[in-house]
Symmetry: C2
Subunit: 383 residues, 2 copies
């Protein structure tokens, strides 16, 4: 096991009917609130009204900032930073999924420094401070509600990069499973793929033989999320299934899964970011495409992990990595998330361009063991 430091101070408020406590929680951090959201779904499903009602009980000044995109973009984050400065904002309230929360982290860190915020994403500057963030999670998937990470796309260069650190953990996150009732099965499937992938990244990339705690953790949360997904497909308003799915999403990327694991460097994500940055598909849809492709490419090297996953997560007792990968693809297909770019509507992918972006991202994330030829091979497996 590797040495590690783990600290995750985010307060999770989880359950039914929790939004009335939101105003009190937000007001701990100041008076002027930037309320950030995405498109208009929160105005249709009642969440916006519940949020405003709760904020009003504590007389907070609300400045609204909507329009965050599904793959959040740098130019919009810069507008948010300007809005914070204009309005003397004390605290940022993210109401949305990972996209909204990730953009809020960019705004929170970017508003209190002299650098341009993109410097954090390209490794040119380190975050030294950030405004406090509170979140109301509407789409469980990315785990951003309980970690410091943020992914943003530079809409000029189409680079989809990430940053993180201790300053951008949300102070508090409100997780009400009932809010997730209205998420379509398609979007829930993409979320399922995203959550699984967060756990699979460390699970499959490690070269260590004895990591029973991290493996058991990942297997337990993956199995839990997958079984919840199957219940949700039959009963989209099953509370326990939505709650398990939501809590599983948070536990999927709150730092525990990868703590101490040698070799975790998120290859499926680094392969996916170029796809969703260039073709604007859902991140989870991209991950159910890149994960099997990466596994096929690495199947000899990480065979023992693939077989363990087969046995302990998929319940397939086999000595063939191919069989396990096929079963994983069957699961993805059964829940309705694509396993090839063609299925996601990308019929003529620009593999050289994708490889170019992947190469940059792998290097940025500290992995230099892949050649352009390797990326080419993997993206061809994902076509």
């Amino acid at each position: 096991m590797n040495n590690f430091i783990f600290q995750n101070p985010t307060k999770i408020i989880f359950g039914k009917n929790i939004l009335p406590k939101l105003g009190e929680e937000v007001s701990k951090y100041g008076k002027n609130v930037l309320l950030v959201y995405g498109q208009n779904s929160i105005k249709q499903n009642g969440v916006y009204d519940a949020v405003i009602a709760s904020l009003k009980t504590t007389n907070l000044n609300i400045i609204e900032f909507g329009g965050v995109k599904g793959n959040p973009i740098l130019s919009h984050a810069r507008l948010g930073i300007a809005k914070v400065r204009e309005n003397d904002i004390d605290v940022i309230l993210a109401v949305g999924g990972g996209s909204v929360i990730d953009e809020c982290k960019a705004i929170a860190a970017g508003a209190v420094c002299d650098n341009d915020v993109w410097d954090f994403y390209i490794g040119k500057a380190a975050i030294k401070n950030a405004l406090p963030i509170v979140t109301v999670l509407t789409l469980p998937a990315t785990g951003s509600e309980m970690n410091g990470g943020s992914v943003l796309t530079n809409d000029e260069t189409l680079e989809k990069f990430s940053m993180g650190g201790a300053f951008t953990y949300p102070k508090a996150s409100f997780l009400d499973p009932e809010i997730s009732y209205s998420i379509s099965l398609k979007q829930t499937a993409y979320a399922c793929s995203d959550i699984m992938s967060h756990l699979m990244e460390a699970y499959f990339t490690t070269t260590s033989k004895f990591l029973p705690i991290q493996s058991g953790y990942a297997e337990g949360v993956m199995k839990g999320v997958m079984s919840s997904m199957l219940v949700i497909m039959k009963e989209p308003k099953n509370y326990d299934a939505r709650a398990s799915f939501m809590w599983g999403a948070t536990l999927g990327l709150n730092g525990i899964g990868g703590a101490g694991v040698p070799g975790a460097y998120f290859p499926s994500h680094a392969l996916e970011h170029p796809i969703s940055a260039v073709y604007d598909i859902a991140h989870g849809a991209g991950l159910s495409i890149t994960t099997p492709a990466w596994l096929k490419f690495k199947k000899d090297e990480v065979k023992n992990r693939i077989l363990l996953f087969g046995k302990n997560v998929l319940g397939v007792d086999t000595q063939s990595a191919d069989v396990v990968i096929e079963k994983l693809e069957e699961f993805y297909t059964s829940i309705g998330t694509p396993i090839r770019m063609l299925e996601a509507g990308i019929d003529t992918p620009d593999i050289d361009l994708l490889s170019f972006h992947a190469d940059k991202l792998f290097r940025l994330w500290g992995n230099t063991n892949y050649s352009m030829n390797d990326f080419n091979t993997i993206y061809n497996l994902a076509k």
Copy 2:
């Protein structure tokens, strides 16, 4: 799933050769340090010297307070509180296992209030503040290094009660698996029983049918700790096994396992505390006695959970709860922790006295569904 609030801000510094960073971490919280430890084992295994060397690099004033007992007692905690007040202590450094850390929490909370510290344990007062605590874990078992809980025995009344809350979480905990190399196999077995029991309590007491995340988490950590124990028995200095065991102990009681689980009320612990308070046996040894007894008493009511545990943790596919309990007892026996009071040297237990104490503790912890007759039956199963 039940509503819950989860927040665990403790910083974990995990791995080899981490003690040189201790001085810097402690000095964040002040100048005058109360260095608390147990008997003299840390002076024999080099930990004391390493701690002192690290503290000296940052010129901290060190006041020593040794002599914490394996089952820490109220009268000694009161001496520690006096010592804090006499020496204007800023921060408490616990170097030891759960006993030392638990007593430090009593000292940290008791030193900054007007109440007598025992008031916190009997529910007569709530903790509103505490001195900062840093820990160096020498015996992984109780999880106290990453939670707010504390168990203390009143040496006048022989009540072994607990308290907790947000103020007594350690600020930082240093977990170096190599420090645990010198723990005897017997003590490691008791620790294994303790860790398993922390996860089993919520796992077995829930009445909910669909809790795949919490169940998967508990199963993963339990399996990981059990398999680590088996490796340690063959190779006491296997780093990965000691590291997995240590990290599993922390994850076993850091609040995740029980979050959202309906019905978690720690019956095996409430049955055990009277035994170790009256007969001064190791807590883990007591738990491997009370857990099977409680399971036998409740085997019809929680049969589905026992069978799930059998299948997913012990690898026993059966429809008989008795078979699973027998297999669990076999595991305990195989690692060298007792399953009956007689094996722990208690040949004529005072079952009425134990039941009297258990009754008080069950009520204090919010469970009024057991009669004196029930306690009598369970302790007879544990004889």
